[in-house]
Symmetry: C2
Subunit: 299 residues, 2 copies
């Protein structure tokens, strides 16, 4: 089955003490779509300007991503620029140019309205709502978010939580939303807001799923060196949704292995700038790391 992914499609300029990487392909939808593409057909919903490099259209196409829902409008592509410190733990934004993204309204081609799996990747909650408004009842809808929307669009986000099956957020966002320090206490409160599946991401500490079949403690793949963590969370949830769409059987049967596969794609994402490493990965590389994770957690 296929997965529909809406989110940001951007150009990221990432600076480190050693190097500058101007105008890399970035954005939540780009990372999630490439990650999902290893496991199932992907339909991308997004917007870029007429400055968007052709090589990135080709990159999407190499990953067999359906671009019927990608709008190319006169104007500039959303451009984010940030700088990392030496230890990669601190990042600061240098520049955010919204460009054509400022007035983005997602339009779903008729062929997209019955997509069984839907990932509302990180983007304004109002746009996540707008995508659901255009769709029939999907099999499994998951939304991601970021601290910005908790700050400036909380009411929209809380309304969204009643319309989705799964919600993914990181531990600091879970704390911000629930005022709970304890991950398991936070999970309980988030369920009360709507979603039956809640995943709290903890970066290099892995993630925790709370679902109708209980908790799952999902490890992160061990990395000695992190080159650029930008997009790792998007890769995680994209890989997870792609795996779910591509697997036979129920979501409950598959979601743990789906998270493991997402975790592995996220590990590759961290090993290069932007999508540089992820786009060099083969399915066999992913499967090898999944088998390693099996060995690393067995007792």
């Amino acid at each position: 089955m296929s997965v529909l992914i809406v989110g940001s499609t951007a150009l990221d300029s990432i600076k480190t003490p050693k190097t500058e990487n101007p105008r890399l392909l970035g954005g939540s939808a780009s990372h999630a779509a490439v990650a999902a593409s290893f496991f199932s057909p992907v339909k991308l919903i997004g917007v870029v300007g007429d400055d968007f490099p052709k090589k990135y259209i080709q990159l999407y196409r190499r990953h067999k991503i359906d671009l019927a829902g990608l709008q190319i409008l006169p104007g500039k592509t959303f451009h984010w620029s940030g700088e990392y410190e030496l230890n990669m733990n601190h990042r600061r934004t240098l520049l955010t140019e919204l460009g054509v993204f400022e007035t983005f309204t997602p339009h779903l081609p008729a062929s997209h309205k019955a997509a069984p799996f839907v990932l509302l990747a990180n983007i304004a909650p109002s746009l996540q709502h707008h995508v659901l408004d255009q769709m029939g009842r999907a099999k499994f809808v998951v939304a991601d978010t970021m601290d910005l929307w908790l700050n400036i669009a909380l009411a929209d986000l809380v309304k969204l939580l009643k319309r989705i099956d799964g919600f993914v957020l990181n531990d600091s966002e879970a704390h911000q939303l629930t005022k709970e320090d304890n991950v398991f206490a936070a999970l309980r409160k988030i369920h009360k807001l709507g979603p039956k599946y809640v995943i709290i991401k903890k970066g290099s500490h892995g993630s925790i799923l709370s679902s109708p079949r209980g908790f799952f403690i999902c490890p992160a793949y061990p990395l000695h060196t992190v080159v650029d963590p930008t997009g790792a969370g998007d890769s995680f949830v994209g890989g997870m949704m792609g795996y779910l769409a591509g697997a036979k059987g129920s979501v409950d049967d598959n979601i743990r292995r789906a998270m493991i596969h997402g975790s592995v794609v996220a590990s590759f994402c961290c090993e290069g700038f932007g999508l540089n490493r992820t786009t060099k990965v083969k399915r066999a590389d992913i499967d090898r790391r999944v088998r390693e994770l099996e060995k690393l957690t067995k007792f």
Copy 2:
């Protein structure tokens, strides 16, 4: 087989916004010895004053802890007093009275010198050396530590690392020792200092083992409420060493399940003040949580 445990034996007064708990049984050796006692016979090495409550001697005895190496000297027992904030994430020390601990010199009874498993729980590295000086070649020696010794006794600690098989420390201490932010990079550097087995504890995020058979990602048992985390790390390493001493087969064969058992005992420790919850636990309660952890991590 038995496990010899040296460390601090103290009275802890723990204050929270809701309650005061004066003169609880505490100290690294007390927590580690009780945790180990669920799995194997324990020989305790420590010192207390003549004010040490008889009920705590009885508590040790109920756990069949061999007290031949516990010195009872004229003077006051080491007394630590601390205060927790409402969310339990911040603790501040109100008072430290060393008492008889100030001049403590561990003496090993003849019956203790051939103990096959040795846990040098958190205590000054010079005292950890002094215990090893009195012993024959043990089967497996593990040391724990704390940030204080990295600050004031680093040379002693680094010398100790060449004399032990396993070293246990938390993630902030690993960073302090190696200047590495990345856990796996830190593990590599610590191996170069001597120990073949290195475990980095990450609190509620679990722990990571690096050993001759590779890494193991060990989960923490999920807790909704933490009453008092004092002694959780000591309980983890105590439970682990007790399990290793009690199990048939090699350390390599058993260390993963040993860590899981230590992790479970630590979870009980967090659910009560001092040793209040841990001492009410039965082996069957531990085995139940171990089975739960198996389910929580399976994929």
